[in-house]
Symmetry: C2
Subunit: 463 residues, 2 copies
């Protein structure tokens, strides 16, 4: 392999990171299962080397060198993923976008902004905000994640109900494909020119190539924001209000409904125990948010009760504050979040089936959910599960058990098994249920066509 | 080939159409170039047979029989396409969706409706309207086209600026792929579970398979509709108003801006010559359309002049009335429409470049445009060109010349070369410009992976 290292060094210069510290720091994402392994004293393998090219051309050369040496490549953005989508092996090379950063092209007139894929999410958003503009994508990970990672994982942000998910914001993209070629999609607002090939990279989780640049169709910062909250007798009643307001054609940027357990955890002074809190933020032109807030209020008050606006302020203040896996493990807690989706009719039984399945897992001490992304025809459910296994030796098996319980329960009700965190390794074994036999076969065909050697992020996505 | 016919007859029974009349009637779409050929006395070849299966399973069997006999297959919906996407050869078999029709599943609660791919567009929309609902897609071809054709061609409707294009309405789909397997996408409102494979079929123009069923995420019929119109000193001034209102976050369902020539043609009593008419229809909750109409009016009046609402009523009345190619050819006129797209900054020069290029073509007597689909970052341009070649022998060469002129002019300015009619055969030779070398190579790889024998709609999409 020293020949490969020599070749990569010749291509990348000081963009080839070789120290133990540099390699270890880029070996994985933020998957709880990796963290459990590390806390048990078994470190994750460091890759052979980390390629941190400064340009797509350099990256393409590095990819071709890896192919020539039959070496697996692990694309990496901010490492904030939580599904094991980045996990190096000792004989692999990490392809990091960390030096492909910054605003590369910008047209305020056209609301277009192109960023290097490695640009930190919050930096990209702040850069746009300095122009009075916004990407409109605000994932909880915004301080850690990269714009390329957003696209590669098909991410959702907290304003998705009004501004869409990441696929609704991508104008065009550039990627180095698994064969070392460079793909640039067309700079056009919309095309009917064959299949939209961008969608092979969006959500591809680095299995077909490495996204190197993303051009977003950005937006003006909302002229106004109106916040309001309501609570409902139970989660189902809240879902019904959400369904009705979506059906009526309103699109609050934030639409988050917490189940009774999470509502009691976060807002206990504000509602009766068991009630479900719905928090809303309407964003847009002032004339629009005013009428939207009114209309939504009327819908929500038909089966719910208004809560003080401060409830929403509190959420905004703390929305990106989450404990680290390490902090939880130090307390003997194995936890994760599991997001799925379904149509409105399925959601109530889906909610109960997954909660019941999680609670039936030995060691699970808490299971709860909220819904944070709504559509005309359904919404997501975002479960949080915590377990306190008897002994550290049981951490991994408990983790695997609650994931299996949730996925199997959701699959039995026909839900979508992955709303926005992606598949990585944690959902890989359910891709047959998720895609169907035909879909899985189609994905395998595409993978083979674009990555004939199977060297790009092996072990991810495909079972 | 009689063995193939026997095999297909065994699979399809009376779903195999064999008479000359049946085969000829399904040999092509509504491409002007085919019409020229026919008017010159050279009929388009009829296919060997037409398969009109009643189910996806029957279709899949028929596809496998065609593969076994190495026979090209031409998928066909309503035949209303205008780019040569359906054109049989004498040794091919047409795969018609005409017997896979009707509403197959429906949930008003979830705003979901599944239609057989061969369902006529207007029938599907009327069925939904009978429930107080709407698909929200209203192409000019709605009386002729099918829901499967909408998806296969990545169509746009007249309400796209508010309700999106067809890809924004598809919830899930089923297709028989080119290898005879059946693909069903997942019934979930949104997923991050690998590449969104639906996008290989959406806009695939039948080159990867035949769409057999489409489930739409439908919507309530708009509670209210407000119409208004404005005229501007020139087309550029109108584009600027459109850009501003999109940027402000408003989304009128209908946003159509006619250039000076088309405005004079349609609305000459309503505006000074050379002015550009913008017609708008705001659709949605009454409270929303009221504030949207007000805000848009303020924007438009900053550089335009209000016109009477009846201008919009007139458009609604006549919007689906267009002359047939035959009627034009009978008058010695060779005409077509050419839709492209670009960002706001590029649109004015794109408009002039294409108009100039069209007018420079020998025989062209009229070239004009409107913009009918707007986005945050740009819009489409929809050109209409008419020529009166000296002799019928010049019809085809004139047709080819004005298409080349438009495509080359648009490509030189970096426009998107195909907004919503698709590629078919007419744009095939510009797919390198449209997709780039990387994109074209990627499309070829995907085509080979899904259709290894190259039997599904050969001659379309790929140069």
């Amino acid at each position: 392999m020293s020949k490969l290292i020599d070749d990569l060094a010749a291509i990348l210069g000081d963009g080839l990171l070789q120290t133990e510290a540099e390699r270890s720091a880029r070996a994985r994402d933020t998957w709880m299962r990796s963290q459990i392994q590390i806390s048990a004293g078994s470190p994750v393998a460091a890759p052979l080397a980390v390629c941190a090219p400064s340009s797509s051309e350099e990256l393409a050369e590095a990819v071709r060198a890896c192919i020539a040496h039959d070496t697996a490549m692990i694309p990496r953005g901010g490492g904030s993923g939580v599904v094991g989508g980045v996990l190096a092996s000792a004989d692999s090379v990490v392809l990091s976008t960390e030096r492909m950063t910054g605003l590369r092209a910008f047209s305020s007139n056209d609301l277009l902004a192109a960023f290097g894929a490695g640009t930190n999410g919050l930096e990209a958003e702040k850069r746009m905000q300095s122009e009075g503009l916004s990407i409109g994508h605000w994932p909880q990970s915004i301080e850690l994640s990269t714009v390329g990672g957003w696209v590669a994982t098909r991410a959702s942000g907290q304003y998705s109900t009004a501004f869409g998910n990441i696929e609704d914001m991508v104008f065009s993209l550039e990627a180095v494909l698994a064969d070392g070629s460079i793909y640039c999609s067309r700079d056009t607002p919309r095309a009917s020119a064959g299949p939209d090939l961008r969608h092979l990279l969006i959500g591809g989780e680095g299995t077909l190539g490495v996204i190197t640049e993303v051009t977003f169709s950005i937006r003006q910062q909302p002229e106004s924001e109106v916040r309001q909250a309501f609570h409902f007798g139970d989660f189902e009643a809240g879902l019904e209000a959400a369904r009705k307001l979506m059906r009526a054609g309103w699109r609050p940027a934030v639409l988050r409904l917490y189940d009774g357990r999470e509502s009691w955890r976060h807002f206990r002074e504000r509602l009766p125990k068991g009630n479900a809190m719905l928090i809303l933020a309407h964003m847009g032109p002032a004339a629009l948010t005013a009428v939207e807030a009114d209309a939504v209020s009327t819908i929500c008050e038909s089966n719910g009760v208004a809560a003080p606006d401060e409830v929403v302020d509190g959420w905004f203040e703390h929305r990106n504050t989450v404990p680290t896996w390490d902090e939880l493990l130090a307390q003997g807690i194995v936890a994760d979040t599991i997001e799925i989706a379904g149509d409105w009719t399925r959601l109530p039984k889906l909610y109960h089936a997954v909660i019941d399945a999680l609670e039936a897992v030995e060691g699970v001490v808490a299971a709860s959910a909220h819904s944070s992304h709504a559509y005309r025809s359904g919404a997501n459910l975002y479960f949080t599960v915590a377990a306190t296994p008897a002994a550290p030796e049981d951490y991994t098996s408990t983790y695997d058990a609650f994931w299996s319980a949730a996925m199997n329960a959701a699959a039995s009700i026909g839900a979508g098994l992955a709303h926005h965190h992606g598949v990585g390794r944690v959902r890989r074994d359910w891709m047959r249920e998720e895609l169907g036999i035909g879909g899985l076969s189609m994905l395998r065909s595409v993978k083979k066509a674009i990555d004939p050697h199977g060297l790009m992020n092996p072990g991810v996505l495909l079972p």
